[in-house]
Amino acid sequence: MTDVFLSMKNISKRYVGVQALDGVDFEIKKGEIHCLVGENGSGKSTLIKIISGAVEPDDSVEIMIDGQPFQNYQAIDSIHKGIEVIYQDLSLFPNLPVAENIALSQLISKGDRLINWKDIHSIAEKAMGRIGVKIPLDALVEEIAIADQQLVAICRALTSDVKLLIMDEPTSSLTKKEVDALFAVVKDMQSHGIATLFVSHKLNEVLQIAERVTVLRDGKRVGTFLSNELDDEKLTMLMTGKKVVYSKYLAEIQGERPLLEGKNLSKRGNFKDINFKLYPGEILGITGLLGSGRTELALALFGVNPADSGEILFEGRQVEIHFIQDATRLGISYVPENRLVQGLIMQQPVQENLILTILSRLLNRLGLIDSQKMQDSVQKWVNELAIKVPSLDSPVQTLSGGNQQRVVLAKWIATAPRILILDGPTIGIDVAAKSAIHEIIRNLAKEGIAILLISDEVPEVFHNCNRIIVMHKGRFIAEYDAAKTSIEEIQNLINLSS
């Protein structure tokens, strides 16, 4: 009959002050691989919650799943219909073995009081067999790699008669090889009639795996498209509603001598034979896939993850960077990849977050913090970086993603760094805010600060950097002059090497 598995028409959801979803129609076919994309705040997570029954939609919505209409759709209905969700945190039990993690949900729904370990093992083996995966059954989940943990989560979903598997940002911590393995599993499930709905912000992956893509913007459905009709640029435009033109910028190098130099830096399991020169006023880009060692190298320069061997030269002199304080003393600052956990203290006010890096500079003659100096400093950076905040006492978590990132940047710029290492500075930030951040970075370079820009978005490094280094499996495998190369050339090298 129809090949549509799930159809929801006219979905709306209003929270206080915010229309999360507005008249959205959504449909997914049996066995289809479908992706849901949109910027932050577009309504993706709300839609997922409604599909899984965790949240109730407002007003009149027509829901039809597998030929059955629903009036009062609940979470238990979604489970009965074979809809399973894997959230970004995977919801596994780190202290329990793999077999148990896989089998538990089935045992709970069966309602058995007693446990038979043989049953648990056989359920787990059967699930793993369905997708051809082999993970030691007795290993504790906290002891296995993230990619394997993801597979355990999928196996868990497979223990029930799953018809639609929803995955929220499944690839955010996976290397390219692991992503390919995951996609192979998804295709395998497809051959068994299982549909998959991905939420992802990694547009190239979306285009790689999806058959159809639904784009949300500001709570409304922009449209559903065949993936082969789309490309990166089209998709971005649909998501943001704007045609984004990246301007290319070449910073002016302000010095003959490199400010920072790395010679034969190596660290076992992290990176090997790293050689580089970083000049004042320059923006040097490092790109490559997740797992290539970029962050590990950055942390080595910042003192968190010191190298085993090799030399670091600052202004020509050899220096030792074994602690963060060694790095900051030299004027090296690091804006972390993980803004929420490493970059900001969410529950604390903007003010405290801004001064944390410069506490020792705010002292008066008695060695106590001078409140005037503190207020002046905070106000200055809020103004300079145009941080939008209702009050300086507001906790940082009340700010938007873009503003939060400005706070992180501000707190490090306030240290008057000589070298600024930016690790994924625009991850999860909307397109408009992205260009604003790039503007800030370019201005910093104009002031003579040497900038190391690490990103896995090739366009970002291409448009902002003087030179671009490609890193792969812990080594630098190529260096490009931005003026003489192209995005395709760099992207090709990355794709080829994986």
């Binding site: 963060i324 490493q342 203290i345 604390q348 405290e352 506490l359 913090i369 006492d393």
Partner: protein
Amino acid sequence: MYRKFSESVILVFVMVGALLLMWIVNGGDFFQSANFQSMAFQLPELGILSLAMMVTMLTAGINLSIIASANISGIIAAIILTQLIKPETAGLSEALIILLAILAGLSVAALIGLLNGLLIAIVGVSPILATLGTMILMNGFAIVLTKGYVISGFPEPVRFIGNGLVLGIPMPIILFAICAAVMALVLNRTPTGVSIYMIGSNPIATFFSGVNTRTVLIRTYLLSGLYAGIAAIIMISRFNSAKADYGESYLLMTVLASVLGGVSAAGGFGRVSGLVIALVILQIVSSGLNLMRVNNFLTIAIWGMILILVMVVKYLADQVQRRRAV
């Protein structure tokens, strides 16, 4: 900060309420100066111990060993005082020995704090376990040193610390005021203080901001231990004796005072001013109960109930605030 301000206002109201309640129940007795004076003598010990507890709670930790630290410091000081001071000891020698005793007591307390700090910051043991271990250890040493006996009989200058009046103000209150002021200064106006709050909320981001979190944590527990030592000196002076298991119920009260004063058990928030008002409230209630001749043990049970009540009220207030925000 508006949120903090309204919390302090609430506390002041509670304090006034408690005073009224005590007046109703006890009548004029409560407001006799003798009563206030005795309150002024009792409050400081608990107050300084509460400051010792508070600073660790701010880092999302806890210090179960403060009472044990206080006891062992007191005992060490007491041993020096009773062993080295003979009836014939002259003024200067006596003064020096007293100084030695006090310094020894404080040093021991600080050392215990250092041990806690090292276990927690360097080894990475959880604060509950680390301070539990040191608590058991110090209780052990206290028993070894005293064999269960009480050490008593200290010279006049020592007894003055806990019992004397300076310009009509009890000495302990002066010491408490100094301790509270110093703690407030450290917490609000020093880099270490700001870092303490930040570590309580997010130690990782604090570390990545270039703060030496290990040093800050060690200093936290060191300070906590030192304050326990100061409280010890006042305690042995007031009781004119030292023994192995004084003040066991104080532990509950220091947690109660901190929580009532606005310290979050999850760390990152809480002010000395709130703690001080909370202490006054507790002291008022304590004196009131005393005047009513309520059994000591019942009083302890009442503290427990008040602690739970305070936490429940906080939870409900939080829920209300959350409903408003959505």
